[in-house]
């Protein structure tokens, strides 16, 4: 086998795939949140709809979006594969579970990931698919015709059950990020007393603030719009 093949097939190489795709998805969440925050501009969705048109038509962003789809798929498929291989390598469970030696999130990344995957599928069906398939009504702002993505979003955020699912999913993403953020750096070999405390602090802050930012938007819509 070529050196690169055996590198990727090794246990460390396999984890590096998780780490790199994970880091890419982490930065995507911040970009996504910037987009979502425009829902809060009280203009009937004009700014949000124009932003959505830009994000779906700009060639650079379109290219990056294919990288994003690939990353989500690879991170999910690879994660499930490693999860099942690791379960097999463990071979059995202890009668007593020691909870004090590790965090809840670190032990349950597989389950948390599956919940997030289910949420992403629901999420893509609801908004992304509608946008791509062109089932949305059109709106015209200053002579520019754009799809009205704001309408289904505003509608969904008025359903109590959807807001509940959304907020719970953000909690799960927060837990997944809390372990995943610092773990990605450790896998790449970046652990040193010079900067690891900073990485851990940033990871915790990111894992709280970003999901909180996402979750606040449907809550504001549900309560005040």
């Amino acid at each position: 086998m070529s050196w690169f093949g055996s590198f990727l097939k090794s246990s460390i190489g396999q984890k590096i795939i998780m780490s790199l795709t994970g880091l890419f998805l982490i930065q995507f969440l911040a970009v996504h949140l910037i987009g979502n925050l425009q829902l809060l501009a009280n203009d009937g969705g004009q700014q949000f709809n124009l932003y959505a048109k830009f994000m779906t038509t700009n060639p650079v962003i379109k290219t990056v979006s294919y990288l994003l789809y690939a990353s989500i798929l690879l991170h999910a498929v690879q994660g499930l594969w490693l999860w099942s291989r690791n379960k097999a390598a463990k071979g059995g469970k202890y009668a007593v579970m020691a909870k004090e030696s590790s965090t809840y999130a670190s032990r349950n990344m597989g389950w948390l990931g599956i919940i997030i995957l289910v949420f992403i599928i629901l999420h893509l069906w609801q908004f992304w698919f509608q946008m791509k398939m062109g089932w949305l009504e059109m709106k015209t702002y200053d002579g520019v015709e754009v799809k009205n993505l704001y309408a289904p979003v505003a509608y969904a955020f008025k359903q109590w059950w959807y807001v509940l699912i959304y907020v719970l999913a953000m909690g799960v993403i927060g837990l997944h990020l809390h372990h995943g953020f610092q773990s990605a750096f450790q896998t790449l070999g970046l652990n040193h007393k010079k900067y690891t405390p900073l990485i851990k602090f940033l990871g915790t802050a990111y894992a709280i603030l970003v999901p909180l930012g996402f979750a606040l938007i449907p809550i504001i819509f549900f309560l005040f719009r």
Partner: protein, 250 residues
């Protein structure tokens, strides 16, 4: 003190195994292994098969006394092996679950004894320094920076007990392997073969069927020698470096 023990009994690797319940009268000054000796004397007096468990030095340096006590390898105390755990860490009337280390790469031989020879094969693949033996060198012939010597020595305190594998939900051997890679690789004598060593030892570790590290960190918490996760990060980056930048292949 009276204790209820739930001990894993398994005749052989092919046997399914199950918990058996025993009552033992111990005193708080006994080590955990001495408490098990008392149990075994009771069993022998009743003409029952004693519980098989590994032990050797009984002073925390050999790493033989592998068992999981209430879900924790080597028991609830930080930085100690089972033989250094005393019954004063428990209360009168406690129920204690005692199980073998669990990992596919550590098959159960009998009761609490598991086969840890996978670790030996990882060491054989590169956990050594190739030097001509002969007269001992002068201690100061090769200058080594104090901090570096300290770091290498911290890694070298690994006794290869396997608690890291037992604690890991993935049955990974990264803490053990990285401790060995670090302790040799940081020193001038070991540096020469470092790239090849990292590649060989990771390959051997994978071939033994150990799982993959997901940075849970339970290994380091349960390690009787408190080996740090920084060693795993060092092995990761050295493996990446050796794969991408060295001519060595394994």
């Amino acid at each position: 003190m009276k204790l209820n023990l739930k001990v894993w009994r398994q005749r052989s690797n092919n046997d399914k195994g199950a918990f058996a319940t025993y009552q033992v009268e111990a005193n708080e000054h006994m080590s955990f292994l001495e408490m098990l000796d008392v149990l075994n004397e009771q069993l022998i007096a009743k003409k029952e098969t004693p519980v098989a468990f590994e032990h050797d030095c009984r002073e925390g340096i050999c790493g033989a006394c592998s068992m999981v006590i209430n879900g924790r390898p080597h028991g609830p105390q930080q930085g100690t092996t089972t033989c250094q755990l005393h019954m004063r860490a428990f209360e009168d009337g406690d129920t204690i679950f005692i199980e073998p280390f669990r990992a596919r790469a550590f098959p159960v031989v009998k009761d609490l004894v598991v086969d840890r020879s996978g670790f030996d094969r990882i060491i054989q693949s590169g956990g050594f320094v190739s030097v001509n033996t002969g007269q001992a060198q002068d201690g100061n012939a090769i200058p080594i920076e104090k901090d570096l010597a300290g770091e290498a020595f911290d890694a070298a305190t690994c006794i290869g007990c396997g608690a890291c594998v037992a604690a890991c939900p993935n049955g990974a051997a990264m803490l053990f392997t990285s401790a060995k890679v670090t302790h040799l690789g940081l020193l001038p004598q070991g540096k020469v073969e470092h790239s090849k060593r990292v590649l060989s030892m990771v390959k051997a570790m994978d071939e033994e069927g150990f799982g993959m590290c997901s940075n849970v960190g339970a290994c380091s918490v349960e390690c009787p020698k408190e080996i740090s996760l920084e060693n795993i990060a060092r092995m990761n980056r050295d493996y990446i470096g050796a794969s991408l930048a060295s001519d060595k292949t394994v």
